[in-house]
């Protein structure tokens, strides 16, 4: 891996930035970027814009035209070798006469999984793998989670005061954070294949969980709305049932299924875990629906149970510069944590101001 040049790094960094342009529209496909370089000049570039349409490599080859011959292709993910909704990218790369392909990350997707690299090598094309691998892994964390763990990446987003309040005891919670933080949450939603919450939040706030920011181009897609609702207490009048996009209600007791389906929801019965919807079963089901990333926007019950079960991959806290005091709901309901030794440590990866609030991104450790 040490034989990559500074130029190689710069071109791959460019390809990664291009890949990210698909953040709101490429999923469930992975975000991929491609840069074609000949004689130290970029002759074509592209990214995967919308699932079902052309892949990054095809867009880059089209931009390059005849200049692709003899070029080096920098691709953030192993090119596909199978006929999906579009023809294999390796055939296009071979046909265009590229001389070398540099790849950040192997694609673990069952239908690729090394076959793309092998096909290129068989065609006599130089192949090198692993340049900026960790950046690519980070960018594709959700896709990789779905493909390798059969569950989406779970991001838990919370908004709290500096003293850990997320709502008053009477339920009042609009708004803890400022407009910039709420706009940031719109972007988190748009990047997710599904937005999950618990029935408690539905009953308390009747949220829409949709992407409404006109500045975010999701190509018309809305994330799936996922409600964990043990006994189908979901009101038939819930606002989200009338909105564009799909509402999935996971339950353990589906007696009231019919009315809810008639109101527009899809109802899925899953197993119970400690008397509640088995979240892991829900995540597995969502992976089957090609959801890469789940954004959880939940109250203390679901948040606490996810943290306790070790199912949170990334925690995002918007911390408002306020003291809310004691007559409030806390962030995590964790009835079993009675000793300090039960606490979980956080590995904070990013802290930044978002308007007047502070956004803290962390992984949850032991």
């Amino acid at each position: 891996m040490s034989d990559f040049s500074a130029n190689d790094c710069a071109y791959m960094a460019r390809a990664l930035r291009l890949a990210e342009r698909g953040q709101y529209s490429a999923h469930p496909n992975p975000m991929v970027g491609c840069v074609l370089v000949r004689d130290d000049a970029i002759v074509g570039e592209g990214w995967h814009e919308v699932a079902g349409e052309a892949h990054a490599e095809i867009n880059a080859l089209q931009a390059a035209g005849d200049n692709a011959r003899g070029a080096t292709a920098y691709v953030t993910l192993e090119p596909c070798a199978h006929h999906g909704k579009t023809p294999p990218c390796v055939d296009a790369l071979i046909g265009a006469g590229v001389s070398e392909v540099i790849v950040a990350l192997e694609d673990p997707f069952r239908q690729v999984d090394g076959r793309g690299l092998a096909a290129l090598k068989n065609a006599g094309i130089g192949v090198r793998v692993g340049l900026m691998r960790s950046s690519a892994e980070q960018l594709l964390a959700g896709f990789l989670s779905r493909v390798t763990r059969n569950r989406p990446l779970v991001r838990l987003k919370m908004a709290s005061s500096l003293d850990g309040g997320i709502a008053m005891s009477n339920g009042e919670s609009q708004w803890i954070t400022g407009p910039e933080a709420r706009a940031d949450v719109q972007r988190l939603r748009a990047r997710a294949g599904a937005v999950m919450t618990g029935i408690g939040t539905i009953l308390a706030d009747d949220p829409s969980l949709t992407v409404r920011d006109a500045a975010i181009d999701t190509q018309g897609k809305q994330p799936l709305r996922v409600i964990l609702d043990n006994e189908l207490r979901m009101p038939l009048s819930a606002e989200m049932l009338a909105l564009p996009g799909k509402t999935l209600v996971y339950c353990i007791d589906d007696d009231k299924r019919e009315a809810l389906v008639a109101a527009g929801a899809e109802v899925i019965k899953v197993g119970a875990s400690a008397g509640m919807v088995d979240v892991l079963a829900v995540l597995n089901d969502l992976a089957g629906r090609e959801v890469n990333d789940v954004l959880v926007e939940a109250g203390p019950t679901l948040a606490g149970s996810l943290v306790n079960a070790g199912l949170v991959d990334e925690l995002i806290i918007y911390q408002a510069p306020h003291i809310m005091g004691s007559e409030t709901m806390g962030m995590f309901d964790t009835p079993g944590w009675t000793e300090l030794a039960n606490r979980k440590s956080l590995e904070i990866s990013d802290v930044r101001r978002v308007g007047a609030d502070t956004r803290i991104t962390a992984r949850i450790g032991d």
Copy 2:
């Protein structure tokens, strides 16, 4: 004020840095620094090291010797004109033949209060005031609070998890934050004339509230230990009663005074406010004892009541990267805050890492 040069600013900044060297030992006197400059060179400098000993100006004049003649003196606070524990600094400045005195801030102390500046002017010395005034005010915030408001500056220090827990419900709280944060608290204590807590913390933790860090030179002084203890529940065996320094116990019912005094405490009866020790009366009493700065290290009851009463001048939170969950004590007990509108906004002035923890410094707004 616009006629100060860049050099003037640099010399005053130097004087302010010198002043700060007295942070652990000058109080109850103000921290003061002095720089003497002739022909664009520093010919002497000094700061007020220990209350009762020489003032900054005298130390600087001694360092300068004959070079003080014709020099400009940069002093962070108006020189004194009265005989206190030491003779007036203005006499020394006049006697040494300085030609100009530049002062950051007038001294509102009753026995100075313009007399120092007037004496210098009467002696034909040029006087200019206001250079870097706000920095000087910040440095001397405690002293200014005592002199102008008859109460010390109140700093409330808390240690919490990211979700706002300061202890488990069973009281377990050692340690929420890391060793670096605890060392930082030692410095906060050393800068304070008094460390205050409530009887709840004494009964739960039996803290010492002393400065123990050998790297901090307080010239042997310990901050007063101040306990708010309505009905004198203070155990005679409390550890702090046997430690160097003085323990003041403020109460509203002093029936048990004698035993506690015999155990080494000073007991002061004050009026009640809502059935508890009237904190403002305590602060006034502490001002009378020449306390400039009070560091409050308290549990949720006292912290909440101070915030509610608007008596916190500065809030310092050490936030540990942990989730503690719901079986915990929160930061502020505020039984009357039942609506979101009751929350207080924070004006955050400083955020920094201290070891693994984050220290947040803020003023409490509306």
